[in-house]
Each structure stands twice: as C-alpha cells, then as structure tokens.
C-alpha cells in the first residue's frame, strides 16, 4: 500500500484531502486481478485480429453493399463518448460551475481513452493497415476521411494536454508524498512533473495554458464529431443525406458521454471510497445535465425522421420503413424508447438521480447509444439508390462475425485498460484544484 505520513497527529482538512485522494494511487491486488483479466481477454481478441491480418476483411461480415459494419459504428460511438471531456471541463468549467471540479478528471480520462482507441478502431476497419501511410502520401485533401484523420489526431493530442496540464502539480505531489513506489513509477513521475515546485509563477503559466486549451478544445471537439458525421452526410445515401447530421451527432455524443461519466463516477465512488468528494449532489446534477442533452438529442431525432418521412421520397421511405416496421424495427424502437425516451423521463424524477438508479439508467443509455450508432451506419447501406442485384444472397443483409465482435470487444478492453491504468497512476480527483477550492470557500 502507498505510504502516507500518518505520524502527524493533527491532520488538517487539506491534509485529510490529500490523504484521501492520494490513497487511490497504488497497484493493489484487485487492480492486478482486474488487469490480468483484461489482458487475458485482450489476448483472446487479438488472436482474431491476427486472423483478420492474415486473411483480410473476409473474416468480417462486411461486403460490397455493407462496407461499413460494427467497426465504423463503434468508431462513431467512441468519438461520441470522447466528446464529454469538452462539455464538462470546458463548457461547464468556463461558465463557472464549481461542482464539476471533482469529476472533470474522470471526464478527461474517458475522453483520452476513447479518443485514443477510436484511432485504432479505424485501423481495424482497414483491410491493409500496412498501407496506412498512403493516407498521407496519396490522401486527397478534398476527402472528409483526410479531415477526419487530421482532426482525430489533433483531438487526441488536445485531450491528452487537457488531462496532463492540471495533472502536473498532482504528479509532483505524488512524487513527494507517496512512498514505496516502484522505481519506474518514480522515474515516470519525475519526468512528467517537469520540475514542478508549486511556485506561483508556475501555477500562473499552467492556468493560462489550461485556459487556452479549454477554449480551443470546444471548436476542435465540435469539429471532430461534425467531420465524423460528414463521413456519412457527404455520401449521397438515404438516411445520411441530411444537413443537420453534425449537430445531430454532437447532441447524441453528449448523451453517451454523460452516461459514461456517470457510470465511471459510480465505479470510482464505490471502489475508491470517494463518497465525500463525489457526492449524491454530483449524481443529481449529472442526471439533470443528461436530461438536458437527451432532450436536445430527442429533438434532433424527431427532425431526422419526420422531415424525410413527410416528404416521402421513395428511397427515404424504404429506409424509414426498414427502421419503423422492417428488418431493424425491433432494435430501432428499443433504442429510441428504451434507450432514450424512457430513461430521460425517469431521470426527471429526483429519486432516480440517486447514485445506483442513475447508474443503471446510464448503462442502459450507453448500450443503446452503441446500437444507435449501428442503426445510423448499417441500415442506410442496405437501401442504396441503386438496385442490389446479381450479388450473393448474403449481400442483402449484414451480420457481424465472431471475429468482428471480438475485435470490437478488444477496443473496449483497451479503453478499460487505459482508464484503469490512468486512474491508478494518478489521483482520479484533482488534488490541488480541490485544495484551492477548499481555501476559496474558507475565505
């Protein structure tokens, strides 16, 4: 266990806070067990990726008609979840909401993990990942795919910086206060703390840079998900041919991201015993935020359906019919009502915003959000503007294969591993910001 100087008889309030928040930085047995389990799962999944590397995309269920399957659905989902870092730290933080302080790092870690792995998910969708560099060599700047790659890389770097900047004082603190650290960890802290010495000038610089990042991440985060939506909206297909696809995606991203943060909050509160810092009030406020973003998303969903449905254009009708009462209707209604409308109605009841109920509701929302991306990506491709003819029977539908599912599971395993390691390597709640906040309240 990490050693804390417990010899001091009087532990001041900020000292207790330090103790509580640094307590979580350790490599305990449960962590090792959990990481062992994740590693094993990852190995099994990587075997399927080996098969895909060996045999190509033929191990997947994708074909000429549906060339974007659950990989791309998953990519859209990951980008969506990663947007939450921007909403919580940047938008709410700059408005001046103080309550986001203890959960902002959780949001940023989620953003970093999902954005990082989203980049890998694109690569899994490539039949020849060894030709990735061709994107730079032969990419056309006119193609939304080039914009997407550029913005994904930019967003990953920005998210990393947004996570890292407020971490620097805490890393220095960890290095100073924690004992019994393995040598590699001590070296890592030393490198990452960049010679931090709690000097006022250093705080000034960090705060200034952080503010620049907070401002810059807003357009970049909006751009990343808008460009992701353009991958679809700039392709002439029923269901994608929509000028409001950007805001539709962004609003959906906030729903998925809020749900992910609530689940993580619950996990960290219970496992890291942080009830004093992540309180019922935080769950209540996050619940209200989730209701707000869900309402916006419902509004966009209604728009996406009713406008083409009213005009009754032939191919749009086929697509909407498929969603409403056709092949994908069961999934569609489950996602729209069970995963969006009922949850946000429930969340309007205060009792439902207590930690456990809201976490269960968030799990439902997050799972539905994943299938929602599937419903956006796949059915449209099955109703193209040209007749599907002279093709094998299996081209008339799409079913993901075991390999595809395993590789998608691998991406989730990677995300969990990144979140786990980051939350064990660094304090999950910003210590110096909490102390600062505490002192401000006293004055």
């Amino acid at each position: 266990m990490a050693g804390i100087h417990k010899s001091e008889v009087t532990i001041s309030q900020s000292g207790k806070m330090e103790h509580d928040l640094l307590r979580t930085v350790n490599w305990n047995g449960r962590f090792k067990l959990w990481m062992g389990f994740l590693s094993l799962l990852l190995l099994v999944c990587l075997y399927f990726y080996y098969l895909q590397l060996r045999d190509g995309l033929s191990v997947t269920g994708m074909h000429d008609i549906v060339s974007w399957g659950i990989y791309i659905s998953n990519f859209v989902f990951f980008i969506a979840v990663s947007l939450i870092g921007m909403l919580i730290s940047s938008v709410l933080g700059m408005i001046g909401y103080k309550w986001i302080k203890p959960i902002s790092r959780i949001a940023e870690i989620i953003a970093v993990a999902f954005a990082l792995v989203a980049g890998l998910v694109i690569i899994t969708d490539m039949g020849r990942p060894d030709r990735l560099q061709h994107l730079v060599m032969y990419g056309r700047i006119q193609s939304p795919i080039v914009w997407d790659i550029t913005i994904v890389i930019t967003y990953v770097v920005l998210s990393l910086l947004l996570l890292y900047l407020p971490l620097i004082p805490d890393i220095a603190l960890c290095n100073k206060k924690l004992t019994g650290l393995p040598a590699f960890q001590r070296r890592l802290y030393k490198i990452l703390s960049l010679g931090w010495a709690d000097k006022p000038g250093q705080f000034k610089v960090i705060k200034r840079y952080f503010r620049i990042l907070l401002i810059m991440i807003i357009p970049v985060a909006l751009a990343i998900h808008t460009v992701t939506s353009w991958l679809f909206a700039m392709t002439l297909r029923p269901g994608w041919d929509s000028p409001i696809f950007g805001p539709y995606f962004v609003s959906g991203a906030f729903v998925a991201g809020c749900a992910a943060v609530i689940i993580a909050m619950y996990f960290f509160q219970k496992n890291y015993k942080l009830q004093e810092y992540i309180t019922n009030r935080h769950f209540d406020l996050m619940g209200k935020l989730l209701v707000l973003v869900s309402l916006v998303y419902v509004y966009f969903n209604i728009n996406e359906i009713i406008v083409p449905a009213y005009k009754f254009k032939p191919f749009e009708v086929e697509h909407i019919g498929n969603l409403f009462y056709g092949h994908d209707s069961a999934l569609f209604w489950m996602v729209q009502t069970g995963g969006l409308i009922i949850p946000f109605l429930l969340l309007m009841i205060p009792k439902m915003r207590k930690p456990l109920p809201i976490t269960i509701i968030s799990v439902v929302i997050l799972v539905a959000a994943w299938f929602k991306r599937y419903l956006i990506v796949v059915p449209t491709q099955l109703t193209p503007y040209y007749p599907i003819q002279n093709v094998p029977e299996r081209y008339h539908s799409y079913t993901p294969t075991i390999a595809e599912i395993a590789i998608t599971v691998a991406s989730f395993v990677l995300v969990l591993m990144i979140i786990t390691i980051l939350s064990k390597l660094f304090p999950i709640i910003p210590v110096w910001e909490m102390k600062e906040e505490n002192e401000n309240q006293k004055q």
Binding site: T150, T154, I212, M216
Partner: protein, 286 residues
C-alpha cells in the same frame, strides 16, 4: 406486385382459348415480300423500333428471355420465327392476336419491314426474296441541301429524274453517336422544296457542324445521304477535370479548401506546440 400476378393469370387463361387453334396466315399474305432492301441502316431502324415496342414481351433476341405468357411470345431469333416466310411475319405483326397487339395502325408498312429486317439479321442463312416491282419504274432521286439561317430551317430540294415534283416524302435526322434524332418528316411543295425545322440550340461540334441524314422516298425509290452542315452553335467543350475542383485529384484541390485546411491545422498545432514548448520551460519559472 399483385396486379402483376393477376395480369399473368389473365394472360394464361386467355392463352388457352387462343392456343386452341394454330395461327394461320392467308396464303397470299404469306407470299408478300419486302420492297425495301434489308441493308444495315434498315436493320438499325428495326432494332430501335423493336426496343421501343417489342422487347417488353419478346425480350432480347437470341437470349430467349421473353415473358412467360401462353402462348409464349417467342424469341425473334429462334427457329420458330425464322422458319416463317417474311409475309407471314408481316401479317402477324400487322394484325396481332390475343395479347399480341395490332400494329396496323401504329407502325407504317416500311417500319414493319424494318422489324423483319432486324429479325433476319440474326439468321445468317437468310437470303432476301426479290420484290417484283412489276411495271413500276423506279425514279432516280437526287437532292440538294441548304440551311436558311433566317428561319432556322433545313431546305431540301428534290429532283425526280431531273425534275422538281410535289409530294415526295422527305425526312431528316441528326446523326448522333448512339442513334438518330429526327428533325421531322414532310413532303416537297410544288417547287420541289421541303422545309424542316432545326432547333438552333442543338449542340454541334467545335465548329458548329451537325451530321444531317436526309432521306427522300417516292414510291419504292429511296435516296439518302449524310452531310455535315454548319447549323448549330459551336460547342464549348470544357473538361470537368480541368482546373481545381472538389472532385479533382489531390494535387488539384481547390485553393479555398487548401487555405482553410492549412490555416486551421497550422493555427491549432501552432498553439499546441507553443504550449508543449512552454511546458518544458516550466522548470525555469520561479
């Protein structure tokens, strides 16, 4: 879909009634032969007609993909068709039976013969029987062409055995890459002149030339010729991939896109690098 099935049922039942007797052609009709020579042009006319009026039931010749009606419509390239004399085919197209429509009032005799010419083009062994013109002496037809810019009309002056004559059939077409665009059909006036409207907005080649096919007919005598005439506006041919466009290759990206993209990327990465370099100087700040 339902209507389609109903139609097939209807047609099937109808077929039993009609199928009861063979389709007999009166002997004198079966002996009829074409006064028109089955040459390539004539076959092409027939092919176009066939695709417009016959394919839906008879399918594509040689592919046996006709509709499953009773009696079956059959494939015009098949033995069943080719074994019949020209006159019998002519009679059957003209009169129709069951769901085979009556084409008597729809297609001119010449057009029906062109269809038969098209059918025969699938039969290498076919030799066209000679038409007995009897006492009729075929006139020697000649014509001159001119284009009147003031009234946008093609003027055809026809000479029959060297003389102008009223009432000679004149038709004209613009010859395109994939077919003929009809300009019209008319008859000569008492001066031997025929006028045909030309739309001046028709796209010509770079010089404004159009290939005009003129066909004149008097009785069984036919004369035709294709002439290149400067009638249309010169076409301004612009290449769709010339210059910078969204759809061009990467090195021909639109300037506004390049500038916007680079400004955004350089702007954001400039700030990122500024912050990263700033962080490395953190140690020196006191």
């Amino acid at each position: 879909m339902k209507n389609y099935i109903l139609l097939i049922f209807f047609v099937l039942n109808f077929g039993f009634v009609v199928n009861a007797q063979e389709w007999t052609v009166p002997a004198e009709e079966a002996e009829k032969v074409s006064p028109y020579i089955f040459e390539d042009d004539f076959v092409t006319d027939g092919e176009i007609l066939y695709e417009n009026s016959c394919t839906s039931c008879h399918g594509t010749p040689t592919e046996n993909n006709f509709m499953p009606f009773s009696p079956p419509p059959g494939d015009p390239a098949s033995e069943q068709f080719q074994s019949q004399p020209d006159g019998a085919l002519f009679y059957k197209i003209q009169k129709g039976r069951g769901i085979m429509p009556v084409f008597e009032n729809i297609l001119a005799e010449e057009e029906i013969w062109s269809l038969i010419a098209y059918f025969r083009s699938f039969n290498k062994e076919y030799v066209q029987p000679e038409f007995d013109y009897g006492d009729e002496v075929l006139s020697e037809l000649k014509f001159d062409l001119d284009f009147d810019e003031n009234i946008d009309k093609l003027v055809v002056k026809v000479f029959s055995d060297g003389e102008v004559e009223e009432g000679i059939d004149v038709s004209a077409f613009v010859v395109g890459m994939f077919g003929k665009f009809p300009l019209g059909k008319t008859k000569t006036n008492e001066l031997g002149l025929a006028y045909l409207d030309v739309d001046p907005s028709l796209p010509g080649d770079k010089q404004g030339n159009l290939d005009i096919l003129v066909r004149v007919r008097k009785g069984y005598a036919i004369e035709k010729a294709t002439t290149s005439m400067k009638i249309a506006e010169p076409a301004q041919q612009t290449s769709l991939i010339e210059g910078r466009h969204l759809w061009s290759t990467g090195d021909k990206a639109p300037v506004w896109l390049l500038v916007t993209f680079l400004l955004i990327v350089v702007g954001i990465w400039g700030v990122i690098l500024y912050i990263i370099f700033g962080l490395f100087r953190l140690k020196k700040i006191g």
